[in-house]
């Protein structure tokens, strides 16, 4: 199994707010999208898998090895920005350093950067870049090379339409298995063969087919023909196929969907 997350719980802060609640997910030879509103725990889940947040209970295994025991495993990469702050460097040096640390050829990333018309970012510090440029550089750093499992956190956030199209192609055509967080729905219909999970209030629901999102509906309460039931702090909802109360794909993103349904 490439990635196995087993009943993990994560609590933050003095109030011990539960951010992930008994989350389990297995990924093997597939790509999955995790969709949820802001603050639902999407990023925390990826951070937990990348070892960037402590888990209170549960277990995470990658390539069959317990996360806590993993050292120098090069087959995983992520676009989480905090990963690329090892020292104060410009973009070009960041690319070179992380290529060396990942055992890759930096030319591959530099070519991607040029292809995305981002060559003018190379002599700038990462913190000097716009949010979209920073996101794009982190995306490209994670997508290049020999990674077998890529963790992408909101890769399209603040990215302009033209680069968004190119990035979508890059992600879809990539050989690696991908776990991608997003709160936007328009991308989902293009993800043929991808698994789909919903995450709300730190609880994961699924799995569905990403490409069938246009056939999925969300309903208040438990619909008789439901394929999944979601118990949340603001009510019980159910997902149905082909028929239901509100079409999921008609919503622009999960936040607007929840506004509509609640």
């Amino acid at each position: 199994m490439m990635l196995e997350v087993h009943n993990i719980n994560v609590c933050y802060g003095k109030s011990r707010k539960q951010v992930l609640n008994d989350v389990s997910i297995s990924v093997d030879s597939e790509k999955v999208a995790i969709v949820g509103p802001n603050g639902s725990g999407k990023t925390t889940l990826l951070k937990a898998v990348a070892g960037l947040t402590d888990i209170n209970s549960g277990k995470i295994s990658i390539f069959g090895k317990d996360l806590s025991a993993i050292r120098n495993e090069l087959r995983i990469s992520t676009n989480l920005p905090e990963v690329y702050r090892l020292m104060r460097m410009n973009t070009a040096d960041t690319v070179r350093l992380y290529s060396e640390l990942k055992g890759r050829d930096s030319k591959e990333i530099l070519d991607l950067i040029e292809d995305m018309d981002l060559s003018d970012t190379l002599d700038k510090m990462l913190y000097e870049l716009s949010t979209g440029q920073q996101k794009m550089i982190c995306n490209l750093l994670s997508l290049s090379g020999i990674s077998k499992l890529i963790l992408l956190d909101e890769p399209f956030e603040s990215i302009d339409l033209r680069r968004r199209m190119k990035l979508t192609d890059l992600i879809i055509n990539h050989n690696a298995e991908i776990v991608m967080n997003t709160h936007e729905f328009d991308i989902l219909t293009r993800l043929k063969g991808w698994g789909l999970y919903f995450i709300i209030e730190g609880r994961l629901f699924g799995k569905f087919e990403a490409s069938e999102v246009k056939n999925l509906y969300i309903n208040r309460g438990v619909a008789p023909n439901h394929i999944s039931v979601m118990e949340t702090g603001f009510g019980t909802f159910s997902i149905t196929r082909n028929d239901g109360e509100i079409s999921i794909s008609a919503a622009r993103n999960f936040n607007s969907l929840l506004n509509e349904v609640t």
Binding site: L52, R71, N72, L86, D93, K102, G103
Partner: protein, 269 residues
């Protein structure tokens, strides 16, 4: 491999140049031209005065490096935790590369301080106050850079992992506070011999003073030269090396367990 990026990053850091070099040069200027009145007008006293200024400024300059290093480790805590798991970077490689880079920077800056001390104090006194063992000054600057890196890394990892990041700014200044404490007290009060030998801060400044002055530093700098005991720089060098070895081992053990923390936790306001 990673060392060249550290050196490049440090050499391109304007704050480091500002505080570690320019600000120190300002104090050397003050030492040479403002705070020299009241000295017996003999070459030996002028040279001791220049050597003490060089020793103190060399020590303070290295502690400024420690502050920059602390901040670098603090801002990179998540990157380090990730890099040890998912890149080829090993804790031992990180510590040794960063230590070597800090040592090189320490050696270079020590060379700059030495040259400027010689130029300013010689110009003002009219004597050629040539440093006696300049290579020892540079080697000591090298050791001071390594020591300050190790001390800074240990302090910041302890705060990061166990004490919380609310006081991270204070933590990054601890090496500098200790530097001022030990550096200034030795030349303004009478410290017991076991502190002068045991403290790595006084070891660094005394060896720097000796390397410039060419004679052993008096145990009591408030008494006239020749009336008291002297410090043995060989013993101080040995104790400094022991400190570096102990800190290197502790730093290596601690960095393996670095916890990823949100840097927002360290926000002061």
């Amino acid at each position: 491999m990673i060392g060249k990026y550290f050196i490049k990053s440090m050499l391109k850091n304007r704050n480091l140049w500002g505080w570690e070099v320019l600000f120190m040069l300002f104090w050397l200027f003050m030492g040479a031209f403002v705070f020299t009145s009241g000295f017996p007008k003999q070459e030996v006293y002028y040279k001791l005065n220049a050597a003490i200024w060089f020793g103190l400024i060399g020590l303070i300059s290295a502690s400024t490096l420690a502050t920059s290093i602390s901040q670098s480790i603090y801002y990179g805590n998540s990157s380090l935790a990730y890099a040890f798991r998912f890149t080829t970077l090993k804790p031992s490689g990180y510590i040794s590369s960063f230590m070597l880079s800090a040592a090189i920077i320490g050696g270079v800056f020590s060379g700059i301080m030495l040259t400027v001390t010689y130029a300013l104090f010689s110009y003002n006194t009219g004597y050629m106050l040539i440093p006696k063992f300049p290579y020892v000054s540079v080697i000591t600057g090298f050791a001071a850079g390594a020591f300050m890196f190790l001390l800074a890394s240990i302090i910041i990892i302890v705060f990061n992992n166990y004490l919380g990041l609310r006081n991270v700014t204070f933590a990054s200044f601890i090496p500098m506070i200790l530097t001022y404490l030990f550096g200034f007290t030795q030349f303004n009060t009478v410290l017991p011999a076991y502190i002068i030998y045991g403290s790595p801060f006084t070891d660094i400044s005394d060896i720097l003073v000796w390397s410039y002055y060419g004679h052993r530093v008096p145990l009591n700098t408030l008494e006239p030269i020749g009336t008291g005991g002297y410090i043995n720089p060989e013993i101080q060098a040995m104790i400094l090396v022991i400190w570096i070895l102990i800190l290197a081992l502790s730093s290596f053990l601690l960095i393996k367990k670095i916890k990823p923390r949100s840097i927002e936790e360290g926000r002061q306001v």
